[in-house]
């Protein structure tokens, strides 16, 4: 049986965890924008995580995730040497990387993780990369130096003003759009509300805005349709048609409602497993 040991663990910010996982077959094929599906325990669910980095030589995949529910909390308790029960990928379509000229990469919170390999690939493809990253507060800001290396210009915002611009990444998007001419494409990855707001900010100018949807999934290979997203009035499956879509065409209200589908069940799972702990240890 193939096993997926955790080789390295970091806590880059409170409630965020970084794992470097040995998965040579996935690392050999991974591209920016793709994701993996993993399972922690036999009775556990399958959850998608966007790939934050990959190293073909070392045969590793890096994921960074936030503890938002039962499974991610369970996952964060794993230590170096522990093995993931399942680790499947690379899934989804890669980001469309080419030399566009001048591009913008916007990452919010844990969304900076998946934006990083995209920014890096865009830079390697010869683009002039302007990156904007933001978090609620300074200590939650991740990958600043990596993003600085992958970008020609880096702007930072925190909601509370503890670091960089006092405000949201959308303020900086507006600023960059004023300062820079002939922007070709913008990527925005982060919380749904952030991606929606960035898309609304760029909509009047028509600047092409790619967002990475992170809906509820089960199989991640197009089989179940749990991850339905409405894009330009058409139903798409984020797992095989995405996860990246044109942010100006995404039905955000629908996406927000679908993301909340199992909110009550999440609470029930947490309550049920309390005391017993998760089955992963």
């Amino acid at each position: 049986m193939v096993v997926f040991p955790i080789l390295h663990k970091e806590v880059p910010a409170p409630s965020l965890t970084l794992f470097v996982v040995k998965a040579p077959e996935i690392a050999a094929k991974a591209e920016p924008g793709q994701f993996v599906i993993l399972r922690v325990e036999e009775k556990g669910e399958r959850i998608p995580l966007t790939i934050a980095d990959f190293d073909r030589q070392a045969g590793t995949i890096t994921v960074i995730f936030q503890e938002v529910g039962y499974t991610t909390t369970c996952l964060a308790r794993l230590a170096v040497g522990d093995e993931l029960l399942d680790f499947v990928g690379p899934l989804g379509l890669p980001s469309e990387i080419e030399n566009y000229g001048k591009v913008v990469c916007v990452g919010g919170g844990v969304g900076i993780a998946p934006v990083y390999p995209i920014a890096r690939a865009l830079k390697e493809a010869g683009n002039h990369v302007i990156s904007i990253i933001g978090a609620r507060t300074k200590e939650l800001l991740i990958l600043e130096s990596e993003m600085a290396r992958a970008s020609d210009r880096l702007l930072v915002a925190t909601d509370d003003g503890s670091y960089g611009h006092h405000g949201f990444v959308t303020d900086l998007v507006r600023q960059v759009m004023e300062e820079e001419k002939d922007l070709a494409v913008l990527w925005a990855i982060g919380p749904m509300i952030m991606m929606k707001n960035v898309a609304e900010t760029t909509r009047p100018s028509g600047l092409k805005t790619m967002v990475s949807m992170n809906p509820i999934m089960v199989d991640g290979t197009g089989m179940c349709g749990a991850c339905r997203v409405s894009v330009g009035g058409e139903t798409k499956f984020a797992c095989v048609d995405g996860p990246e879509f044109d942010g100006h065409l995404v039905d955000w209200n629908l996406a927000v409602r679908r993301a909340a589908m199992y909110r009550d069940e999440e609470q029930r799972v947490i309550a049920y497993h309390q005391g017993g702990g998760c089955g992963c240890h």
Partner: protein
């Protein structure tokens, strides 16, 4: 000796009880029942039953062995042709295959071949008898993509011929539709696991979590040491009707609904972490076996009312008669000649109702069935809080799209010979739903069997 014209009835859980549990509905024959039923077989000189079996099980012979209480002999006889008998005995549509051609059936009920097959297979699973022997190694390596009925059958047959077989499965457990699609109450998962384990013990390696088309491709498998590839990736993509409101929360594809319940065991939530939402009133759209499975699953998950909504009439329902009867007994309500045109929802995005339209049957269409024609002004509303869309599946494009030299049909199916599974690419064979579009477990197994034979011939020719 006067022939008993009636089949020995299958013992089953009472409908009122079973509609609220996930235990197997059909309990299986006892030894006594099996012997009684086996004695009804008249051992035809020219048996029609075998011709009705896509995998050519020597039916009279195994029934003869059963009658002699040689149960091990019976199962060995079945396993000469069928590597998944405990599964086939449960889910094959025998009434339209072997039993349809049974001579005894001309003057009463046919012999209950499927139930006898199940008896013999379950006997072996209980006894834990060794798997069939495999031929000496040929040195050839074959990759099988997908571990559903087609892939498992091809893998087992190829292993028996002495080839080294690796099966690639995208999900975390092998079995395909047997694990994610067919519910526990119709096909217990421990049975599927046991049959798969016996295939493993024949030397077949199964790699789970391996998405061919993403992690690797058929082209790469051929480049990296596999001498032939069998594609059995099934019809995994759910169809939707594309009517307003289909993306409301609470509207599931049958695939998602059944995968959550069967594969992820959401019926044991919250012990198992994957959730499923079932409201008071559930409407399942469609009337195939998958639709029946979904409607019956909904009852077991606590629905007060479970509807089958189907735009044609009872006669055109694609589901097996037995499945329809079981659903009816359990209280599933049928709204026939009716189809949804729109779903309604509340301000939180949850489905709350559907607008239905009545249909009547017109002239026969391309499928030979009478075409349903909408009745003007017949719309009415039905309050529901869960919808399961079970109107069919299409082939998953991941493998066809990433394999060079493969001809693909209009509906995304792989073009392959019905007799051999040969595709337009030498060394690449395909069978099951990926070739035919959504069909049955046993037809996929038949295709896997034929392909295994053709692959064996291809490899032998390659050697020369």
């Amino acid at each position: 000796m006067p022939l008993n014209t009636a089949k020995w009835p299958m013992p089953a859980q009472e409908p009122a009880v079973r509609r609220r549990n996930f235990d197997e509905v059909a309990l299986g024959y006892t030894e006594e029942m099996a012997l009684q039923e086996a004695s009804r077989c008249i051992q035809c000189k020219k048996p029609g039953c075998i011709k009705g079996c896509p995998v050519e099980v020597p039916i009279p012979e195994f029934i003869g062995l059963l009658s002699e209480k040689n149960y091990q002999g019976a199962i060995e006889k079945i396993k000469e042709k069928n590597n998944l008998p405990a599964i086939c005995g449960r889910v094959c549509p025998q009434e339209s295959q072997c039993e349809k051609y049974c001579l005894v059936g001309k003057k009463g009920d046919s012999v209950a071949i499927g139930r006898l097959e199940r008896f013999a297979a379950d006997y072996q699973l209980q006894q834990g008898i060794e798997p069939p022997p495999v031929a000496a190694s040929t040195g050839f390596r074959v990759a099988v993509v997908g571990s559903g009925p087609a892939g498992l059958t091809a893998a087992a047959d190829l292993a028996r011929m002495g080839h080294q077989v690796t099966v690639f499965e995208a999900l975390h457990v092998p079995g395909g539709v047997l694990m994610y699609g067919i519910p526990e109450f119709r096909l217990p998962k421990h049975i599927v696991q046991a049959e798969i384990n016996s295939i493993r013990r024949m030397g077949v390696e199964i790699k789970a979590d391996s998405v061919v088309g993403k992690m690797t491709t058929v082209d790469e498998l051929l480049k990296n040491g596999y001498d032939a590839v069998f594609i059995g990736t099934g019809a995994g993509l759910p169809s939707f009707m594309h009517i307003p409101g289909e993306n409301f929360n609470g509207v599931y594809s049958a695939n998602e609904f059944l995968t959550r319940s069967n594969l992820m065991k959401a019926y044991l939530f919250p012990e198992y972490v994957t959730p499923i939402k079932v409201g008071r009133r559930v409407a399942v759209i469609g009337a195939g076996n998958v639709a029946m499975d979904a409607a019956r699953t909904a009852l077991r998950l606590g629905a007060e009312e479970s509807y089958i909504v189907y735009r044609r009439s009872a006669e055109e329902m694609p589901a097996r008669k037995e499945e329809v009867e079981h659903a009816e007994e359990e209280g599933v309500e049928f709204r026939l000649l009716t189809s949804p045109v729109e779903y309604y929802g509340d301000d939180k995005g949850w489905v709350t109702g559907m607008r239905l339209q009545r249909f009547e049957l017109g002239e026969p269409d391309a499928s030979g069935r009478r075409r349903p024609v909408p009745v003007e002004g017949s719309e009415y509303d039905l309050e529901i809080d869960t919808v399961v869309v079970a109107i069919g599946q299409t082939p998953n494009p991941l493998v066809p799209r990433t394999t060079s030299g493969l001809e693909v049909g209009r509906h995304g199916t792989i073009v392959a010979s019905e007799e051999t599974g040969e595709t337009t690419r030498p060394g690449v064979f395909a069978g099951g739903d990926i070739v035919t579009g959504a069909a049955t477990v046993i037809l996929a197994m038949g295709a896997g069997k034929k392909a295994a034979r053709a692959i064996d011939a291809y490899l032998k020719e390659k050697k020369q």
